[in-house]
Symmetry: C2
Subunit: 280 residues, 2 copies
């Protein structure tokens, strides 16, 4: 997905939100916005929004000296999500289609996204996502490939969400590689978050070698790219991964909730929709 | 009112909206946003948002060569508003407090604001504004001053809204000077709009000498400042005039609907509130 002009005001909104996470110093917050303003005209809109987003968050880090503004929030949501794990497993146990319920749970985990900023109630959102209609539902294809696949690459999204991913990985019951970020970026999961949620007990956890949001292949490590090219199923979680991989020709399935109006428009679904979509 | 950091993302949103009003050329729209990005760091936040807003709209004009992107929209709403005039007068006739109803009508006219961008239904909004509770209601002071005043200066806001202002001016039944913009800026009323709505039949219509949004005194003409300094009541319509005059020590009453969350916060009222507020 390319960057839309509508993303530009949003980069400033995101920069301000991140700045406020780290510092109360209004001068510094203003300096961050001014630096974003000076950097922005250098970028074309041909890349994914996440590519510019990555620059925005780097500016926040540089000016505040805080390379992990979302650390506390991530820890909090890791804990909340982990406490929900038994409940998530119960939902699987009482469901008639375990894999589908696990997919719904994995998407529900995608609500843990502080960038979008809205307050939310995890349990309420979970119940909604367990029952609501998919706007795109390539489930039969997904199920078939999930059964056949030998090497599944699972692209993580946010911290906390990892617990919900764990439930899906357990249902897949295959050799899964779980790829997270090399270093903190926004609230994206890192190896630390994956381990906290004990994904390392059921999957091989690797870093994608990059600290950009989403999966910008040109910034990923060779090791990651080997997994990426060899996987016979890639499960891509969340908006950032969609933005950066939507045009890729690999066996990718995008699992996400379209929280951003522009991403929803790019996919062609109403804002707030849940999606299980086969890539190109 | 000073500029808040939250206004910065909004300047880009406004620039994009204005750009889209004038051109479908995405390159030009992008150029506008880039130019705004380059200009923005030059400004302090000590001025009102309208001061930076004025630069933003100048950039749109310069790059597109269109000095009046809202021309058609203004003409349309002038016509719609004028067709409502008999209905507005009926509301006055059947009210128990004519002046208060006229104040409510003038505020209802303030919904005609395309910058904020939301779709709206003029008649529905009118009915709501005729009955809803004021968040700030300095009506007794306003009524007293309106009765005593000999020279009233009425600061116009948007085109179309002028018809609603006309109803209040008719109820005031005093010597009123109606100040509009020197040249088109956003959807603000100009002399042409005032005349279209026939304000010139009941008040002296003048330009404030500036084409900035709101009333930036340092940019206004000497003629306007004479009226401003001699008026014994100043009626200030809308958010732009509030932004630029909120700290002034003159007998100003602010009539507006707080459509912007940041302005609502600055005033200390919930977003969407209607206000009749005495200045300092």
């Amino acid at each position: 997905m390319k960057t839309y002009l509508d993303c530009i005001p949003c980069f400033f909104k995101q920069a301000l939100e991140a700045a406020r996470m780290v510092t109360n110093d209004k001068e510094k917050q203003h300096e961050i916005l001014n630096r974003v303003a000076r950097e922005l005209p250098r970028f074309s809109l041909n890349g994914a929004p996440a590519e510019i987003g990555s620059v925005v968050y780097k500016i926040v880090h540089e000016i505040t000296g805080d390379s992990d503004p979302y650390k506390k929030v991530k820890e909090k949501y890791n804990r909340i999500a982990l406490s929900l794990y038994p409940k998530l497993k119960q939902e699987i146990e009482r469901s008639t289609d375990r894999l589908l319920t696990a997919v719904r749970i994995a998407i529900a985990g995608n609500i843990i996204d502080f960038v979008v900023g809205a307050k939310f109630d995890v349990e309420k959102e979970l119940q909604k996502t367990l029952t609501c209609k998919f706007a795109i539902f390539d489930y039969e294809d997904f199920k078939k490939l999930a059964e056949q696949a030998e090497n599944i690459l699972y692209l993580a999204d946010n911290a906390g969400e990892t617990v919900f991913d764990r439930v899906l990985i357990e249902e897949l019951d295959k050799k899964v590689t779980y790829a997270v970020k090399e270093a903190p970026i926004i609230n994206d999961a890192t190896i630390e978050d994956a381990k906290f949620c004990r994904i390392d007990k059921i999957a091989k956890v690797i870093s994608n070698g990059s600290d950009a949001p989403g999966t910008i292949l040109s910034l990923c490590s060779k090791e990651f790219l080997t997994y990426y090219n060899q996987a016979d199923l890639i499960i891509s979680k969340g908006q950032g991964n969609y933005e950066t991989l939507s045009e890729e020709k690999r066996p990718i399935f995008f699992l996400l909730k379209a929280k951003c109006p522009i991403i929803a428009q790019d996919i062609g679904v109403p804002e707030g929709s849940i999606i299980l979509m086969k890539g190109h």
